[in-house]
């Protein structure tokens, strides 16, 4: 039985897992790249080992080095987090082959669910409904896909077989535009996963993206922890999640039915540990299996907030061979939780990623607010990894309270040094359609705008004008002072240096 865990990840999720280990009295081992010597996961861990240069493929994707560190440090288990090596069956197998525990599912489950085509065929056989598409057809050529497309019907989606997170994904409205989009999708899939294979899938109109959290132990017990609403996405990247889903709401019968199907899907691959079944739900509440994420999900905290279950601790307990501490009857969703992903990107400039040193942070705190993060003042956001700065999570007795709480938390949040998407989330909280729960997966891209005028938000251009004038005035005055000082002692390079810095 292991008592020391290596965390094969970085950023907020490495810190999250480290905390769970520590609270279970386990020793922790971190690994880090050049860019992460000062990262919080290195600072908070009991042990930390350097594994390579900043690009992921030279460090966090080096499964061989990571297993070597685990063996050297005496760690008995590896937790992969999400991303990086989390859904690589070969890595999971190598961990087991090295005599270590893998805190996650069996390699065979990862493999079965990792290939979208196999995944759909498997769950389909178990009676789980899937979205129409070419999932069962293997790796098809462009001409074959172009021939099948009209049978599926437009609009449809091109998706990467090895994919996830929206990479290698394209939406096709007409046959004509399909060849170019296939090319782009294959290129992106090749770059992201080293595998350019794609498949087609019917695009469900007005679709909701709703997922169920699963926990399964090694004793054959499988339960679900209710759903998460993940429809608010941009370029197929989730931006905001909530639990429960306002679309399911009080429809307890639908929740239980979807939950049971989710459990069945997990059982179809003999699933063990934590996982997530993603569904598309159409306007008539018909739901389709989309995929299974065979790992801890970014948005797991909202489920923790409404169920009271610490999912990461459960993962570790399961990996230690323990029975689940809950039965399905113990699980009910209390209150409402929302998560906003705070990213280093500029919402006013096409969500362009933003890098730099974080010079100042004031996180929102107080009742019902949780932050999961791996950054601190003085830490640098580099271009090597994703742009997630922190996850801002709130809990409220009702959805309305959760929204009001999120609104005040976003307003309190101060981050300087990079651009963030906080203003985007603030506008989203003000949106009447969001408040009413009336949105689907296309809402952010098609019906939402940062232009506050469209939503009748109160603006304060007069205050902005005054602040700008006051700052400009200060700067002019300060510059003038330096010039005058400079006149008195022109040899004093220091003032000139400052003057130049200010004018640049």
């Amino acid at each position: 039985m292991f008592n020391k865990v290596l965390i094969a990840n970085r950023g907020e999720i490495a810190v999250r897992i480290l905390r769970a280990c520590r609270e279970l009295g386990m020793k922790t081992v971190a690994v880090f790249s050049d860019a992460d010597r000062h990262a919080l996961h290195v600072r908070y861990a009991d042990e930390a080992y350097y594994i390579g240069a900043s690009p992921s493929r030279e460090s966090y994707l080096r499964g061989d080095k990571i297993i070597e560190v685990a063996l050297k440090s005496g760690a008995g288990a590896i937790h992969p987090g999400y991303g990086f090596l989390a859904e690589r069956a070969d890595f999971a197998q190598a961990v087991l082959d090295a005599g270590l525990a893998f805190i996650g599912p069996k390699p065979s489950s990862i493999a079965a669910m990792g290939d979208k085509a196999v995944a759909r065929a498997t769950v389909s056989k178990a009676g789980v409904p899937v979205v129409p598409g070419t999932e069962g057809e293997g790796a098809l050529r462009d001409d074959e896909l172009l021939a099948i497309a009209p049978q599926i019907g437009f609009p449809l989606l091109i998706k990467a077989t090895a994919g996830g997170g929206g990479k290698g994904m394209r939406e096709v409205k007409f046959l004509d535009e399909m060849p170019a989009l296939l090319k782009a999708a294959r290129r992106e899939a090749e770059a992201a996963f080293g595998d350019g294979n794609v498949y087609l899938e019917k695009l469900i109109d007005g679709a909701r993206h709703i997922e169920f959290q699963i926990l399964a132990d090694t004793h054959g017990n499988v339960i679900h922890l209710g759903e998460r609403e993940c429809s608010l996405q941009r370029r197929h990247q989730k931006l905001l999640e909530e639990s429960p889903s306002p679309f399911i709401g009080d429809d307890e019968e639908l929740r239980q039915r979807m939950g049971e199907v989710a459990v069945r899907a997990a059982e179809a691959v003999g699933y063990v540990n934590a996982g997530t079944i993603e569904f598309l739900v159409d306007k008539d509440k018909k739901f389709y299996f989309l995929e299974m994420n065979t790992r801890l999900q970014v948005e797991h905290p909202i489920t923790e907030m409404v169920t009271g279950v610490d999912i990461v601790k459960e993962q570790i307990r399961i990996a230690r061979g323990r029975q689940l501490r809950y039965t399905q009857e113990d699980i009910f969703l209390k209150g409402w939780s929302i998560e906003c992903r705070i990213n280093a990107e500029d919402p006013y400039n096409n969500f362009m990623p933003s890098t730099g040193v974080l010079t100042h942070i004031i996180p929102p705190t107080g009742p019902g607010v949780r932050i999961d993060t791996g950054v601190y003042p003085g830490f640098e956001i580099t271009p090597y990894y994703d742009s997630l700065i922190s996850k801002l999570i709130v809990w409220g007795e009702t959805r309305a309270e959760a929204i009001l709480r999120m609104r005040r938390a976003l307003e309190e949040y101060r981050i300087l040094g990079v651009h963030t998407n906080i203003p985007f989330h603030q506008r989203l909280m003000d949106s009447h359609r969001f408040m009413a729960g009336q949105f689907d997966t296309r809402f952010v891209e098609e019906r939402f705008s940062l232009e506050s005028a469209q939503e009748n938000i109160e603006t304060h251009p007069n205050i902005a004008a005054i602040i700008a004038a006051l700052v400009a005035h200060r700067e002019t005055r300060r510059a003038a002072q330096f010039v005058r000082r400079g006149e008195r002692d022109i040899s004093n390079w220091k003032w000139l240096g400052r003057w130049e810095r200010i004018r640049k």
Binding site: T355, T359, D386, S387, H460, P461, A464, I467, A468
Partner: protein, 168 residues
Amino acid sequence: MINVRYIATIDQVDYLVEIIDDKHVALNGQIYEIDFASVSDQPIYSLLIDGESYEAFVDRREEEWQILLLGNLYLVRVEDEREKRLRAAAGGRVIERGEFHLKAPMPGLVVAIPVTEGQRVNKGDVLVILESMKMQNELKSPRDGVVIRLRVGVGDSVEQSETLLSVV
């Protein structure tokens, strides 16, 4: 004492701001009591104005001040009266500069260049696709023109602020 007068322009609306003293400004002639302070030596400013409390993140980009206030971004041009007169005399038109230099907004890897040297492009056309922070970012042309001096190729790693190409 002579007040310092500025014209702040937001979305083509002018606001006349007079700095009366440390504790007073006038906006379009109306006087307000203020208490204005920067916080923690950061570009965050706290403004108390007739008791109301506001806080803004302030950033300067070329000719404009960017004021992020309660989740809204305001682009403000601030000029004194002389500057304003000069610009008015010039017809108030924004004069398009000769060349636009496309700079990498962050370090990254060039994954595609959908344009070639000498090609005509329209405003909004994608010039370069740069991969950074696990995202493919489309860098677009801010104006119509012709692509010149293409300095990078697909597969190149580029530094932040490195000029990738120009549009003339």
